[in-house]
């Protein structure tokens, strides 16, 4: 039996304070009806014998002391069925494409229980994205969460779309789905994504959640939970490999801060709530593979670093949870290089388990390390050149400098629709390295040099 109450005592920002209720459960789903009959939904944030605090997802506009509050006695659940594929939903899970409501096969609690670490399978299946800076030097594996750290005005969305288009496992045809969660992005950006999904037919295998910039900020707190619950259903109930892209985590965190301030919580760093780390972790950690299940969840969160500052709490905390990061560089973008991924601060923590013999090719690790080393050194040398000029460099340093330039032009740079195989990527790497004397290839074992170095391969 659920009772309705008209005992709203206080409304403050997105929060309702309801008095004189029966005992109400923490996190319970709440339905609020305005006097004009409009229905809004909310969630219990704090419950006690005296007062219940409800956060309203659709905003408190139109609510007054006469509004009725109904506690459903249940936590928020996502209705799910195979028909959800191909649908466009709002940030709070309502149809946005004019289609009918989802008739659920199952309804799942969206809060996301933690996967038991002992039930996790170690991610090790290589995913080929067709982008050299990812496949070659920051390899993605299935079940990984690899965010794109970007800045305002950089083409991170194009990179994400290209990954969504091209991502595949080597030599396997498997059922594959994309869950796309947009949080607080502009209408224009949303259209860009939707147009690309339609152009490539990706929408047929995608579930889209759209919370746009002018939708209520609180609703954003729900969007990734709904998206990931959907992803878990597709992956672990329907055996699909799911790629979850969500953009923009910065907006999500802003919404969290907004809520924290409304609740008058003690703020943590830069005003973000102290539990932001745990809340982010609960989302990000829903990536993975479960032993004995066929499906997997791979996550690509996109976040724009305010002021390109990687030490800002959002990228900082994200970086501690995710398995690496891809950094989109303003400098490379200005040079006209696409995708402008700077491999130096980028990292894929799961790379080692997905590369090498049996996954990609035996020389992958060595080639990648060697490319990294000389590119990093070459970039350092640019600073020196700016002061003393190229002429003052030693012969070795000049080679390294030239290597770094060529690396950006040939390895990093590629077309928006160019889908390079991992073997192409490694061969481009070898071609670049072959401009250096063999004695400089200190990170590559001799037998690999003999087998893959272009000089020896031509003889074959």
């Amino acid at each position: 039996m659920t009772k309705e109450y008209k005992t709203i005592n206080e409304i403050k920002g997105p929060l309702l304070f309801v008095e004189k209720t029966e005992p109400i459960g923490f996190n319970e789903l709440v339905e609020i009806r305005t006097e004009t009959g409009e229905l809004k939904r909310g969630q219990v944030l704090d419950t006690s014998n005296e007062v219940v605090v409800v956060q309203v997802f659709e905003g408190t506009g139109g609510l007054g002391k006469e509004s009725t509050v109904k506690f459903t006695g249940d936590v928020i659940k996502m209705p799910l069925s195979p028909d959800i594929i191909g649908r466009v939903l709002s940030g709070s899970g309502q149809p946005r494409d004019g289609g009918p409501p989802i008739v659920p096969d199952v309804s799942k609690d969206i809060s996301g229980a933690a996967i038991n670490p002992a039930a996790r399978e170690k991610p090790r299946a290589f995913i080929q994205t067709g982008i050299s800076t990812i496949d070659g030097t920051n390899t993605l594996v299935r079940g990984q969460k690899l965010p794109i750290f970007s800045g305002a005005g950089l083409p991170h969305n194009d990179v994400a779309l290209q990954i969504a288009r091209q991502a595949k496992a080597l030599g396997e045809a498997e059922s594959f789905a994309v869950v796309f969660c947009a949080m607080g992005i502009t209408n224009e950006e949303a259209q860009h994504f939707m147009a690309d999904f339609e152009r490539t037919g990706a929408l047929e295998r995608a579930v889209v959640f759209l919370n746009l910039a002018d939708d209520p900020a609180v609703e954003r707190l729900l969007t990734p939970q709904l998206g990931l619950t959907t992803a878990e259903y597709l992956a672990f109930d329907l055996d699909m490999h799911v790629l979850v892209i969500y953009t923009d985590m910065t907006n999500y965190c802003e919404a969290m801060r907004q809520m924290g301030a409304a609740r008058e919580e003690v703020p943590g760093r830069r005003g973000y709530p102290g539990y932001m780390y745990t809340t982010l972790a609960i989302q990000y950690e829903r990536a993975g593979i479960i032993t004995g299940k066929k499906g997997s969840i791979t996550q690509f969160p996109i976040l724009t670093m305010p002021g390109d500052d990687i030490t800002h709490p959002i990228p900082d905390l994200s970086g501690y949870i995710t398995e690496g990061q891809l950094i989109v560089s303003r400098e490379l973008h200005r040079k006209g290089i696409y995708p402008p991924i700077d491999i130096r601060p980028s990292l894929s923590r799961l790379m080692n388990s997905g590369i090498g013999a049996g996954h990609t090719r035996e020389d992958h690790r060595a080639v990648s390390d060697q490319l990294y080393a000389y590119y990093a050194e070459g970039c350092d040398l640019r600073g020196l050149v700016a002061i003393v000029g190229k002429e003052a460099l030693s012969e070795r340093d000049r080679l390294v400098l030239e290597f770094a330039d060529a690396f950006e032009r040939k390895f990093v740079n590629q077309g928006r629709d160019e889908d390079r195989s991992i073997f192409d990527t490694l061969d481009i790497g070898w071609n670049l390295l072959s401009a250096l004397p063999e004695t400089m290839l200190t990170r590559i074992d001799d037998h690999l040099i003999k087998k893959y170095h272009p000089r020896y391969r031509k003889k074959e």
Partner: protein
């Protein structure tokens, strides 16, 4: 104390208030119809403040709160080794059996198996007087680990009965004259340190097989080390390498707020690892705590204490234990999160004012000790801190550095250059340097510290020269300085860099470390001698033996090759003109 029941008054996230309880601070209580494991963390008027180790969704005011009358305890006894626990010592594989792939709520699982029978062999007999910590008998817990069943701390008496044979951990194995019945299992409150007789000075090094650590910044047995590193500095790989290769008997790994996939990697990889000294699975002498970042924050806070308590238990048997805490920053963040939920007055950067005290309490539980029984055991702690944005001035790092004696400064610049282990040789330090010197002189070579200092000087000079090079380029330097740059490069690339993924290079014994460094220094001496003879630097640097030296470290049986390279070097320099 009588065990009663109270009622939930308020629920806000993991913090619950309840009325009608008599429990003391840090007592364990079970909240709600589902009996969620929780701990009393404050008492205000008639209300108890409780932190819940599990998700509180759906818990209502008015639901019961059951008291247990005891604080959070660890279950100590045979069967701990090889276990994989969450932060409150629930075996994760048992949780899979109980609730499937996702962890559900209100599950209680024993930390050790209470049904399994162990063969107990007594070492005391009827009429013996037994003191606290004294061994009553032993159980062969693993093939190579003999588990001592000890008198609980604080208990003494005269043995009236002692049994021998197969028992569960709950069966009585010993009865004292005063009627006390002793089972094998002990319960110990995790927030209280287990007692020992005396602490010993840190005079024995902990061998790790990592050149940059053993050779430059060594840790003593019973010592404490901090690994700070922003994300992406190779901290986790470093810690796992340490767990694999350190010469300790028992490894306790606490994954506190870390990544699920990383834990999965560890949980898959650990059982496959073979102990290089015994050829037995490394897991047989390991205990893993895995409380990932998305598991309840209160259990994350508890995991460090649970971990150190089991470490102390094995130390009390006379074992050398290494505890790795990855990461204490996540632990501190759990404290911060809970503190802010309690609406406590925040200290620096929102951390509670007691942060420093808690960190100190934890690290002080390390040490090489004389146990209650008079044997020797040790706990070395390696704590990772993850300073936000690599900023070492933040409170967790600063408080940690005040306590720990060794600092392995992981450097993201080195990671970017793919230099591993990415320990910065200029910023790191070890305060055990002098206390350990006598051991190295006696056991490896009298020149150990001398060579180390020479190498450090070269690296220091290198750093200064590099600044000049940044301004004017290396060609502008005098020849001897160019040579120093090259020697430093050799030390960095041939000696400090070590691949954790290369089967041989991943572990380097003391002797090999010493020989390799000596060879590089000997190249330096030859080179400077040649320079003095008037041979130009670029001729010296083209010496083939120099490049040959680079690959010696990759050989298991390195000595013949090293001698060959050294002989080649000798002759090359002799004929050089």
């Amino acid at each position: 104390m009588e065990v009663g029941t109270g009622k939930v008054h308020r629920v806000a996230g993991p913090v619950v208030q309840a009325t009608g309880l008599k429990s003391h601070m840090y007592d364990l209580v079970l909240v709600g119809e589902e009996g969620l494991m929780s701990e009393i963390i404050g008492i205000a008027g008639d209300k108890h403040v409780i932190q819940v180790y599990e998700d509180t969704a759906g818990v209502k005011p008015g639901e019961p709160v059951k008291e247990t009358g005891a604080p959070l305890v660890a279950q100590l006894g045979p069967g701990i080794l090889t276990s994989i626990y969450d932060g409150i010592q629930r075996p994760l594989p048992k949780l899979v059996e109980a609730s499937g792939n996702f962890i559900s709520r209100g599950l209680f699982v024993d930390g050790i198996d209470h049904k399994k029978k162990w063969e107990f062999t007594p070492v005391v007999k009827k009429g013996d007087k037994v003191e606290p910590g004294q061994t009553l008998g032993t159980v062969q817990e693993q093939l190579l680990i003999k588990h001592k069943i000890m008198m609980p701390p604080g208990k003494r008496g005269t043995v009236k009965e002692i049994h021998s044979g197969n028992f569960t951990v709950e069966d009585t194995i010993c009865v004292l004259e005063d009627g006390t019945e002793l089972p094998m299992i002990q319960y110990w409150p995790v927030r209280r340190a287990r007692p020992s007789r005396a602490k010993q000075a840190p005079t024995i090094p902990l061998r790790t097989g990592q050149r940059v650590i053993d050779g430059f910044f060594s840790l003593a047995k019973g010592g404490t080390a901090a690994i700070p590193g922003g994300f992406g500095t190779g901290k986790t790989v470093m810690q796992q390498t340490l767990s694999k290769w350190s010469d300790v008997d028992i490894v306790v790994y606490v994954g506190c707020g870390e990544r699920g996939n990383e834990m999965a990697d560890l949980l898959h990889e650990f059982p496959e690892l073979v102990d290089p000294r015994t050829n037995r699975p490394l897991m047989e002498r390991s205990i893993v705590y895995a409380n990932t970042s998305n598991m309840p924050v209160a259990a994350r806070e508890a995991s460090i204490y649970t971990g150190i308590t089991t470490a102390e238990y094995y130390r009390d048997m006379g074992f050398d234990v290494m505890m790795t805490a990855d990461s204490t920053s996540r632990w501190a963040e759990a404290m911060r999160e809970l503190s802010s939920r309690l609406e406590e007055m925040p200290g620096e950067e929102g951390y509670p004012a007691y942060l420093g005290a808690r960190l100190a309490d934890f690290y002080e539980r390390s040490g090489r000790v004389t146990t209650l029984e008079g044997t020797e055991g040790s706990i070395s702690i390696v704590g990772a801190v993850s300073p936000p944005g690599g900023d070492f001035t933040e409170p967790v790092t600063q408080n940690t550095l005040r306590i720990t004696k060794v600092f392995w400064a992981l450097d993201s610049k080195l990671t970017q250059r793919r230099h591993f282990p990415s320990i910065n040789w200029l910023d790191s330090y070890s305060l055990y340097d002098l206390t350990l010197e006598p051991w190295f002189v006696e056991n490896v070579s009298p020149d150990w510290n001398k060579n180390k200092r020479r190498a450090m000087e070269i690296l220091q000079e290198n750093a200064e020269l590099e600044e000049i090079v940044m301004l004017v380029g290396s060609d502008a330097l005098p020849e001897d300085q160019q040579l120093t740059l090259e020697v430093a490069r050799m030390i960095i690339n041939f000696w400090l860099a070590q691949s954790a993924f290369h089967p041989v290079d991943t572990f380097c014994p003391y002797k090999k470390q010493f020989d390799l460094l000596k060879a590089i220094l000997s190249f330096r001496d030859h080179a400077f001698e040649a320079l003095a003879r008037g041979i130009p630097t670029d001729v010296i640097l083209k010496t083939p033996s120099k490049d040959a030296l680079a690959k010696v470290r990759l050989l298991e049986d390195y000595e013949p090759e090293l001698n060959k390279v050294l002989a080649q070097m000798e002759s090359e320099f002799k004929t050089m003109s």
